[in-house]
């Protein structure tokens, strides 16, 4: 019917030529989409890192206030040679307040005094006590002490705000407080120094006293447990599946199981930990040992899968040669295949551990969200880990915790980068092409 028309000779070359510009434009557009997609992803990465670093850097410094404390036994309410117990009960907080009042004699009303005291961190009295307890000879002399400033004062000094113009500063501090701060600054009694507290202390309600030591130790203990459990088990499982397992139903089930476990949401492992280890076996809540067990169950599939890949990469000729020389199947593996596959296995293990180090959700389930002030000493002490500390701090309203959170994230990222760099190095250094 319409056949004759389509048979009409057409100038194909002309049609193609006419469409060429359009096709080339489409080609360019498509290419551009790809560049945009990659650019956007990498741009987001840099945006994320830049935002964290810019927020977190101030946390590595801290503002200190110089106080000349007259340590008279009289004002502390102590006898001439106080015992350790009397010293502990002494009113150091009152002494600090007295020192501040002496520094600013014009302050008289109750409200103003309270405002004045709040310039100094509440940790000052403990620092003073520690100094005196370590060296009782200091009593009845004047001690020059640099104590941490309160977080509000600390952050405006660190931001380099102009104290002569109080209206330009966004802060919870009132104008009088800013005036005092100005006076301190002019006298050179304010100083910004490296914040060692951040690496020495546990968590605290006061941002200027809060640190990541407890969380770091918790992370270390948790990772230690994760490594000691998951590495041998994963290697053994991988060896069995790759070298010994017969082709049967059971092996199939195991393999499918491992692949599925690798994709199960991490929070489900937390539920498992809560129901089995905490509620059934009554293991201690918030303890790194339970966290480590849960995380090792979670990282096992990852390590098994990469270990299998490493074992598979060892050529069969090695096995055949060893067999030919009379080695038993187990000797073939332990003497030849395993050592050759070890760099690959270790790389996979480190990547799995890095994943465990950054994991938060399952640990929330087993109660590692506690407020931990003391540095954990063993795997059964209540502890928290670095990512959970980040989660806890991110919830705090104080502005100073925002920078602490970002700084903790920076520390976490540094550890992750180190671990991944180690993995890459191992791979580069020991990788063998057969």
């Amino acid at each position: 019917m319409s056949q004759p028309e389509s048979r009409k000779p057409v100038d194909t070359t002309a049609r193609v030529k006419a469409s060429l510009n359009k096709r080339y434009a489409a080609e360019k557009r498509f290419r551009l989409y790809g560049i945009v997609a990659i650019g956007a992803s990498i741009g987001f990465l840099f945006l994320l890192l830049a935002s964290i670093v810019s927020k977190g850097l101030p946390a590595f410094t801290q503002t200190f206030v110089k106080l000349d404390v007259a340590l008279s036994t009289e004002s502390l309410g102590l006898p001439e040679t106080p015992s350790a117990q009397e010293l502990r009960a002494a009113n150091f907080s009152g002494l600090i307040k007295q020192t501040l009042r002496d520094r600013f004699p014009e302050v008289s009303s109750r409200g103003d005094k309270k405002a004045l005291y709040s310039l100094i961190s509440t940790g000052a009295e403990y620092e003073l006590y520690d100094r005196v307890a370590a060296k009782p000879e200091l009593l009845n002399s004047t001690l020059t002490l640099w104590v941490p400033a309160d977080d509000e004062l600390g952050s405006i000094i660190k931001s380099g705000a102009d104290l002569t113009n109080p209206d330009s500063i966004v802060t919870r501090m009132n104008d009088k407080q800013i005036g005092w701060a100005k006076e301190l600054q002019d006298a050179g009694d304010l100083d910004v120094r490296f914040n060692s507290t951040f690496f020495k202390n546990g968590d605290s309600r006061e941002p200027e006293l809060a640190g990541i030591r407890a969380a770091l130790m918790g992370s270390a203990f948790t990772l230690l447990i994760t490594f000691t459990l998951s590495f041998p088990i994963a290697v053994a499982a991988a060896i069995y599946l790759e070298e010994f397992a017969p082709q049967n139903r059971w092996t199939d089930i195991v393999e499918v199981n491992i692949n599925n476990l690798a994709a199960v949401p991490s929070i489900v492992f937390g539920l498992l930990g809560l129901a089995v280890f905490i509620n059934y076996f009554h293991m201690p809540r918030s303890a790194p040992v339970v966290g480590g067990i849960v995380l090792s169950l979670m990282t096992l599939p990852t390590i098994i899968i990469s270990s299998r890949a490493a074992l598979k990469a060892v050529p069969p000729s090695i096995r055949e040669a060893a067999r030919g020389l009379g080695a038993s199947p187990l000797q073939v593996v332990t003497h030849h295949v395993l050592p050759l596959a070890m760099p690959g296995i270790l790389t996979g293990t480190i990547i799995g551990l890095a994943q465990a180090l950054g994991e938060t959700a399952p640990l929330l389930m087993i109660g590692m969200v506690a407020f931990i002030v003391d540095i954990p000493q063993s795997v059964t002490d209540a502890a928290t880990v670095l990512p959970v500390q980040v989660f806890l701090w991110a919830d705090s309203p104080e502005r100073a915790f925002l920078e602490k959170t970002s700084a903790a994230i920076m520390v976490l990222l540094v550890f992750l980068i180190l671990m991944n760099a180690l993995a890459v190095m191992l791979r580069k250094r020991f990788e063998r092409r057969w």
């Binding site: 180090l357 959700a361 989660f391 991944n420």
Partner: protein, 473 residues
Amino acid sequence: MSTTALILITVGLGLASFAYGRSQAYRVAKTNGGIRGLHSLPSHYGMMVALWCALPALAVIISWKLIEPSLISSMLNETVPQAIMEAGEKTVELYKNEINNLVDSQVISSIQDPAKLATAERLANLRNTSSLALVVIALVIAIMGAALALRKITPTTRARQIVETIVQVFLISCASLAILTTLGIVMSVMFESIRFFQQVSIVEFVTGTQWSPQTAIRADQVGSSGAFGAVPLFLGTLLISFIAMLVAVPFGLMSAIYLAEYASRPVRNVCKPLLEILAGIPTVVYGFFAALTVGPALRNMGDWIDQMLGNFGMEFQLSVSSESALAAGVVMGVMIIPFVSSLSDDVITAVPQAMRDGSYGLGATRSETVRKVVIPAALPGIVGGILLAVSRAIGETMIVVMAAGLAANMTANPLESVTTVTVQIVTLLTGDQEFDSAKTLAAFALGLMLFFVTLCLNVIALQVVRRYREQYE
């Protein structure tokens, strides 16, 4: 003696018996014409002795430690005061916990109440006896095992076979741990869910539209009957996952196509690791970023748009919530980009070069080849990868916990705040709650749903990807 020390000692004994067993084997060999006279290598004999020494002892220690708490607890019953015994199981449990804590913190001498003191002393006694008995039994078993095995060091003992069988059993049990884990997950969420569904009907849970997981402290309290309709949670999860996929799929797929088909080698070598860094960043960091940077930024942008529209005389309110689904979804999408792109990259590079060459030969441009040949050929693999990504998005926890809300709204508006299954699991289980209340059990029911849905997605996705791989291999 602490358990750790005991275990270390047992392991030490094992090592010592390895050394002794091996030297014993050498000695036996001397009278039998050298090592050739033995069935196995001396180290095999040593290994056999070590395993006989350490394994039974370790097994005893572990099973002892598992049984010990419940055994001691039941032996404590006779010293628990009558009044407390009659007050029901929970009171007894509380009482025992208190005593446990007292004994743990070693303040027995300061206990005033004579009844408590008696229980505490009994407990401390039982614990001492138990740990002492364990030490003795474990060490005796270790030494006896080693002695027995030492007697078996003869030229005809098949030491290698014995050792290798034990090692094989160990390997098999390690591999089977995966099945045990899956079973553990299924059982733990299943049992608690069954207890939950005894209190709340399953129909209400799956079809109800009200979610307010309160359980009454008093029966006559206002709003005492909590509502456990999980539909708003499912919808919230779907909404956020959908937004995430809207970001992740186009960006991830286009990145993969560009890297696989267009990028030069140096570009690929730089861009791929950078994308992998994106995948390595902990989710809590993404959550922090979503909650404190992206959320407020979107809110400000919404206010700005409102203002602009107001300037043009339009009364229109976007009213972006600072915990909007959009913020959580977009950041989650970015997190999943590298996941989608690396999976797609794998399947795209697996498409045989011959298919591309055929297409070029017919005069197609590169993009035409990609769109009409490569993508259709790789489609099953890509779909599998996307399904895996969806399961990832549904199970993602930290981003939504930090950036999405708690209010169970039923809405499809991405600017409002919604809550998800994972958010509710975390909120229900991190508060101070009695373990048996419907509130905490609800978390396990949600966990069951989550596990089931992600499991189905994973099984399908892995199947699809595997089929696809087989097609081209």
